[in-house]
């Protein structure tokens, strides 16, 4: 068999994944914290104030990376949910369900900071603009996935049901976004374009990109530590989990 396929196969086994994730974790946490420190310093200190929004624009450094993460994590959850449903891989179920609370946290941050940004800029805490509303629906979808996962007794069945809901949600999200856009739009246009010239000063841009990378590492670190604990709980009848419990007791 192809060595890469073989490695993936091995990674799917919970004890191997547990050790593998344990080795990666310190690096991910380190990269995340360093990235956050650099990104926030760059965004709050080094970047010049915006000529229209003055210093209020600096909320962008937490708002926009959170918004990106909220969508990125949902996609991650849905892909893993799909794998879990089709191939019934335990690791994918665990990863999908471990991602949901992290995604909900980022969605919440995006909504809260967006609302705080809106107060000085638009004069209200909340406007029913398309992107904010879509983000609110996204939060409900996350909460639905988490609620369904919690409500079912059997852990694996719960993961499959919630993964299925996540998949329905991913069909629904573009429809929601389209419909809400059609319904009302007030929001400013995209400030950062991945392709083509950007509308923002490079001194303002790089901290944003650093923050985007740092939040990815933060997600990866949190995801791995959640997945490790969930696997330990899920496999508490197996030998490897017992050995870990005993080793921790001795330490």
């Amino acid at each position: 068999m192809n060595p890469l396929v073989l490695w993936f196969h091995k990674l799917g086994s919970p004890p191997y994944f547990y050790r593998f994730a344990g080795r990666l974790l310190p690096w991910f946490w380190g990269a995340a914290l360093a990235g956050l420190a650099i990104g926030l310093y760059g965004g709050l200190v080094l970047a010049p104030a915006d000529y229209q929004q003055s210093d209020a624009f600096r909320i962008i450094y937490v708002h926009v990376p959170s918004a990106w993460m909220s969508l990125f994590i949902y996609a991650f959850m849905a892909v893993n949910g799909f794998i879990a449903l089709v191939w019934r891989i335990k690791l994918s179920e665990t990863l999908a369900m471990a991602a949901a609370p992290i995604g909900a946290a980022f969605t919440f941050i995006c909504l809260a900071t967006g609302s705080i940004w809106g107060k000085p800029m638009w004069g209200t805490w909340w406007t029913w603009d398309a992107r904010l509303t879509s983000e609110l629906v996204l939060l409900f979808l996350y909460l639905g996935v988490l609620g369904l996962h919690q409500a079912i007794e059997d852990r694996r069945q719960a993961a499959r049901a919630a993964a299925f809901l996540a998949l329905i949600g991913i069909v629904n999200l573009p429809i929601v976004h389209f419909s809400v856009n059609w319904w009302n739009t007030l929001h400013q246009g995209d400030t950062v374009k991945l392709f083509g010239p950007s509308l923002i000063d490079s001194r303002m841009l790089w901290p944003l990109l650093v923050m985007a990378v740092a939040t990815k590492f933060l997600f990866a670190a949190s995801l791995l530590s959640r997945a490790r604990v969930d696997l330990l709980e899920l496999e508490s009848g197996k030998d490897w989990a017992r050995q870990i419990a005993l080793a921790e007791e001795r330490a």
Binding site: R155, R156, L234, S236, K238
Partner: protein, 218 residues
């Protein structure tokens, strides 16, 4: 005898290394057994030994954690549940608001009809003649069970999976179940029935399987 040895037909039902886990706790198995045409097997086990779960796995309602179920030598999959299995569970699958006759007509629509029998005849053979049009709600628990047994007679399933068929039945009802099982076996059908041991399948010498949580012995 020089006639060529016929290839042995695959058994009606075969379980190979069948096990079911819930939250990684084994409910039953691994378990292997075969059930041929004309056989009635009594599955004995205490409460919580996984009898009901086993029947759900064998019928295709649940997917086994490991192992396979073969029906006539072909693996059972969700996509291809066959006409060959009829399940009678703790919940009888009949509507209290409707009459026995209406319930049976619905069962026929859903599962098909065995040749040479009508709903009226089926009700008669379970001793419910004259109750055809009474709302099921007004019948006793034992009579409801008889309606569910009449359903088994009507649908063209060769394999019966009966979960505690003797529960709620009086002595006469127990004899009735045994008579139906005998008849079914004589026609070339097969049945797997569960019991926690309080009642016994009396006629003939049925094979017994012991189900004890993790391991099972034939």
């Amino acid at each position: 005898m020089n006639s060529p040895i016929p290839l042995e037909a695959p058994p009606l039902l075969e379980a190979r290394g069948l096990a079911y886990l819930r939250n990684d706790e084994p409910i039953f198995g691994p378990l292997s057994f075969r059930l041929g045409a004309g056989e009635v097997v009594l599955m004995e086990g205490d409460n919580g030994s996984g009898k009901t779960t086993l029947l759900k796995v064998l019928s295709g309602l649940l997917q086994a954690s490991t192992g396979t179920v073969l029906l006539n030598g072909e693996p059972l999959t969700l996509a291809r549940l066959s006409h060959q299995v009829a399940l009678l569970g703790h919940l009888l699958g009949i509507k209290g608001e409707l009459s026995p006759l209406q319930n049976l007509r619905f069962a026929i629509g859903l599962g098909g009809l065995r040749s040479g029998i009508t709903p009226h005849q089926a009700l008669k053979s379970v001793g419910l003649e004259g109750y055809e049009d009474v709302a099921l709600r007004q019948l006793s628990a034992g009579q409801k069970k008889r309606v569910a047994l009449a359903r088994l007679l009507l649908v063209p399933a060769a394999l019966w999976l009966l979960d505690e068929p003797y529960a709620n039945l009086d002595r006469e009802g127990i004899t009735l179940v045994n008579r139906l099982l005998e008849l079914h076996a004589m026609r070339g059908g097969a049945a797997l029935i569960t019991s926690h041991g309080a009642y016994a399948y009396t006629s003939g010498t049925p094979r017994r399987l012991q189900l004890r949580g993790q391991e099972a012995a034939a």
